[in-house]
Amino acid sequence: MRVEIADLEVVRAGRTVLALERLVIGSGRVTVVLGPNGAGKTTLLRAVAGLERCRGSVTFDGRPVRPRLAVAFQRPVFLRGTVRANLALALELAGISPADREARIAEAAGVLGITALLERPASRLSAGEAQRANLARALALRAPVTLLDEPLAGIDGPARRELLGALPAAFRAGGGTVIAVTHDPAEAALLADDLVVLLDGRVHAAGPAAEILSAPPDAETASFLGWDTIPGEGGVWAIAPGALRVGRGEVAFSLAVERATVVGGSPVVLGRIAGVPCLARLGEAPPPAPGETVSVSAPRSAVRWFPGSR
């Protein structure tokens, strides 16, 4: 189901916390809304869910009628009773027949790895377990639109890596539209088909994730996505994360070396370009001494120039 947001504005205590002219969430795709804390991501999600007092319109397949939604808030909340009872209640409210409920619960619990927890009172789950039960409830609904707020918050280690792969697949299999919110660009990169970058209540970028990640449309987006942004004459250079290497190449900068170290198994040099802290891979070259200035470069495809920014 296609979700269209137009002229949305949320004002809280006299401050505009969210202002969107137009945003289209593609049908059947996983769209990740990415932004730092306080950017208005949760507010956007709540506005789509109809929980936020706001101006503007949110339409679903062109109509203002809200379809059945599945939602997983950042704070997992449950009613009294077991995990199974909580999932069953959500399905019951969605009008799923009792016969289908069991199958859906079993399937969602399998994906989230909580089959063994189903009979446990929801009040006695650890933070990570609760979050997985929270996601299982949203998944089991197979709603036309699913809203996930920081879906992987509180889940770490191997489970997180596993879920990063399994979650999008599971939701895609349901065929519904997924809008997820996260502050973590790496998580967004792994989950998203489409990406919406939300900074300070405004959309800075929206489109296929691969395009935005490889070619951020503005300096702020680039910076938030982890690109090094270096002020230049009348604009800003942005260099993709990990693209800088010591030595000559297509686009060259000079790096004031601070120290050499090893990151992710490869030797790197830490230093500053025009005062901005940067990191360049060393490759085969001998490590330069601190205080030395070396030439570093990146391929043209990994460098963007934003004129007029600063």
């Binding site: 009613l79 009294r80 009773g81 009872a85 069953a88 209640l89 019951e92």
Partner: protein, 282 residues
């Protein structure tokens, strides 16, 4: 999870509870505004059931002071009154609020006080003299202060002595019924004016003795009236008349004469009908 919505259940429960409380004002019911002295003595517990048995009319007796009872009548909030404040009664009759008055019974007021009688009230010539002695001695005196018949009588007596009661340092107002006022007087070793019935009923719990009684000035008449239906719509005058008639019927008069004899060794009220006095009992 049990998921029934409880609203209908709750509504049914509430209705059941309400109906179990009994029916509301039926048409065979009257409200009688009366005085605490009549209720506290227990006389109503004898008279009202007998009235209901005889006539099928339910009398709801609301015990307040005589002043409040007459005020209820003046608003049309009662059907009959049964009180003991001749002065206020006369005003209400003159104003047209009360009609068909009858004398039901009398008893008398007593001046009671601590047994050692510091004001020498025992030696008083008459009621006014007793009050004068209390005023002169400056001893504590507890007034009802509640516009009751007893309160009115007390004020009349102060006026007769020529004393402004508000200037008396020993006098305090309880603002409560006769029973509570007697208890306060007993605890504070004070004098007070009481009707005989309430005093007799409470005597065992009090450190108070009757110090002056028997003056004609201290007669305490109880009258019953019908609230004027021409002035107050909604008054059930026929039923109220039946109640007033019942109070002066031989049966009720004999019951009044007998009331208290067994328990206290003396009657608490004197019925208006002299024949009943000679032949008490029901």
């Amino acid at each position: 999870m049990r998921l029934r919505t409880p609203a209908p259940l709750v509504a049914v429960l509430a209705l059941a509870l309400l109906s179990a409380c009994g029916s509301g004002g039926s048409s065979r019911t009257i409200i009688v505004a009366t005085t605490t002295s009549i209720q506290d003595s227990g006389l109503l517990d004898v008279l009202l059931p007998a009235f209901e048995t005889q006539t099928g009319i339910r009398a709801k007796a609301i015990a307040v002071g005589s002043g409040a009872a007459i005020a209820m009548a003046a608003r049309g909030d009662a059907d009959a009154v049964f009180v003991h404040d001749p002065k206020a009664e006369a005003q209400a009759v003159a104003a047209g609020d009360l009609v068909d008055g009858v004398l039901v019974m009398t008893n008398d007021f007593l001046i009671v006080g601590p047994p050692d009688d510091p004001a020498q009230v025992r030696a008083a010539r008459d009621a006014a003299d007793a009050f004068r002695r209390i005023a002169v001695a400056g001893v504590p005196f507890v007034s009802r202060g509640d516009n009751s018949g007893t309160h009115a009588k007390e004020l009349t007596l102060w006026t007769a002595v020529g004393v402004d009661p508000s200037t008396l340092s020993g006098r305090l107002e309880s603002g409560q019924g006769m029973g509570a006022t007697l208890t306060i007087a007993s605890e504070r070793r004070a004098y007070t004016l009481t009707d005989r019935a309430t005093y007799t009923v409470l005597r065992a719990t009090l450190a108070l003795e009757p110090l002056f009684q028997g003056d004609a000035e201290l007669v305490n008449p109880y009258h019953a009236y019908v609230v004027n239906p021409e002035r107050h719509r909604g008054v059930r005058a026929d039923l109220a008349r039946a109640f007033v008639r019942f109070l002066v019927s031989p049966e009720a008069q004999r019951a009044i004469a007998a009331f208290g004899l067994e328990r206290y060794g003396e009657p608490l009220f004197v019925p208006a009908d002299p024949r009943a006095r000679e032949e008490p009992g029901r």
